[in-house]
Symmetry: C2
Subunit: 275 residues, 2 copies
């Protein structure tokens, strides 16, 4: 029996197979998936490949997007789209020009996963952009995972999608979340039912690996972590406000203050749409 036919056999018989938790780690087999085998490694095979829709937009933080995109791109079989209003290039907050692979109109079926990256002023602008908020509401209805990294959660929140959910965001703007009806929760990745939000920028890598494991099983997630050589060595101990030197933290808080203020004002406006 070749590896391929073995995979097919396992796939075909999987609906009837009770999956031992030990075979897939701490991640449960999602409904409609079966356990398959690839060179001895067990993974979750979807009955139908997932459609993952990642919003991209002017002013986004490129690393918020690319951390998870790299992991999603390694999720075998999944279709990953970068979606915006048009297919014109969008420019990130550090000047990277990316071309969307699809427009809002191309997404005619709710995706399995919808994702929003964060950013600065560009992100705040989305919080009161009806075309974006409507698209998110529509995509989120029926999506299995409604997700974000960094200040992307403010856009989900502005769409009303975090009302009654625990959620997190970039440290500098996370205090805006309660105004959007979310329960601000500390954590690198905060999961509450269908909502999965992650902290600032680099949290997207932890998030991407976590999602890879949810969609393909823990061993697959472990494999992607090794592919990405994810053995971080932060050069300074300065990754959180609690850890940073006081003067650095105060300086950055001051720098972000106008953005946090603008986000709060936009949250109040956004809320008026759905209350």
């Amino acid at each position: 029996m070749t590896r391929r036919t073995l995979g097919k056999t396992l796939l075909a018989g999987a609906a009837a197979l009770p999956v031992a938790a030990s075979e897939t780690g701490k991640f449960p087999l999602p409904a409609g998936y079966s356990v398959a085998d690839m060179g001895g490694l067990k993974y979750f095979a979807p009955a139908k490949p997932e459609h993952i829709v990642m919003l991209i937009y002017p002013g986004m933080t490129a690393l918020d997007l690319i951390g998870p995109q790299q992991a999603f791109g390694y999720v075998m079989g999944a279709k990953v789209d970068l979606v915006w209003k048009t297919t014109d290039p969008v420019v990130s907050d550090t000047g990277v020009k990316m071309i969307p692979s699809a427009t809002f109109k191309d997404v005619t079926q709710p995706p399995d996963l919808i994702f929003v990256p964060g950013g600065g002023k560009g992100t705040v602008a989305l919080m009161t952009d009806p075309a974006v908020l409507d698209f998110l509401v529509q995509s989120a209805s029926g999506a299995r995972y409604v997700t974000s990294v960094c200040s992307g959660s403010l856009v989900l929140g502005a769409a009303g999608l975090l009302r009654g959910y625990r959620a997190t965001s970039h440290w500098a703007v996370r205090d805006v979340l309660p105004t959007l009806g979310a329960e601000l929760t500390a954590g690198r990745i905060v999961e509450d039912r269908t909502r999965i939000t992650a902290g600032g920028v680099t949290a997207g890598i932890d998030f991407g690996l976590y999602l890879a494991a949810k969609l393909r099983g823990e061993d697959y997630g472990r494999s992607v972590e090794l592919m990405l050589e994810y053995d971080p060595h932060p050069p300074f101990h300065s990754g959180t406000p609690a850890e940073a030197r006081a003067d650095i933290r105060d300086g950055m808080t001051k720098m972000y203050a106008p953005l946090a203020k603008a986000a709060m004002a936009s949250a109040v406006m956004a809320k008026a749409r759905w209350t």
Copy 2:
């Protein structure tokens, strides 16, 4: 005295200022830089803003590029270009379409920093691409930093730029380095005189922060680390071959074997160009 004029004054007087090591952390003030102040935080101000040239190409790993690009993009004043043969979009190994900001021909002066991201087959293809190798050799002459993340070091090596230097690469292909005349050295970031190479994919974030600190001082690097909320929580302990479960490591090693073999063959061909 406003913050701006204070900065200017410090800048003007800096050539004559002896810089106390304690003011700038463990990173030495580069020649031609002065210590300036921004809201109480000391940083290195360049006499002339740096030009950072990042190679982008079909099949690159987007995260190899964007990790450091995000950090470089926050290096105040620096001009960061994404450079390729043409300004046609290039597609990453996970399907991200990016538009180069400049072509090889536009780089008429050696940049301060030249950077090569890694990838899979696309990276191996560059190892025997004369146009790319010639561009790198030309750019590297006079560059203060000749750098890479992941398998990008194989391209630097193929250009003959790592001969006699300590260097690293992605774990799956790093054994190719000695064939290119480099001294393979363990380490997330390996610095040897003007050469700074980093490990696989996510090492680019550590690398980007390290370079931000080299160019703007340690406090600036600490500030960027906080901006990026770099408080990594790898979901599995699987980021290096040593740390990964044996079957995961063996499975991934097997998966990468054809790539490692192709890279070795290309290294032998590349070497023939300069020996």
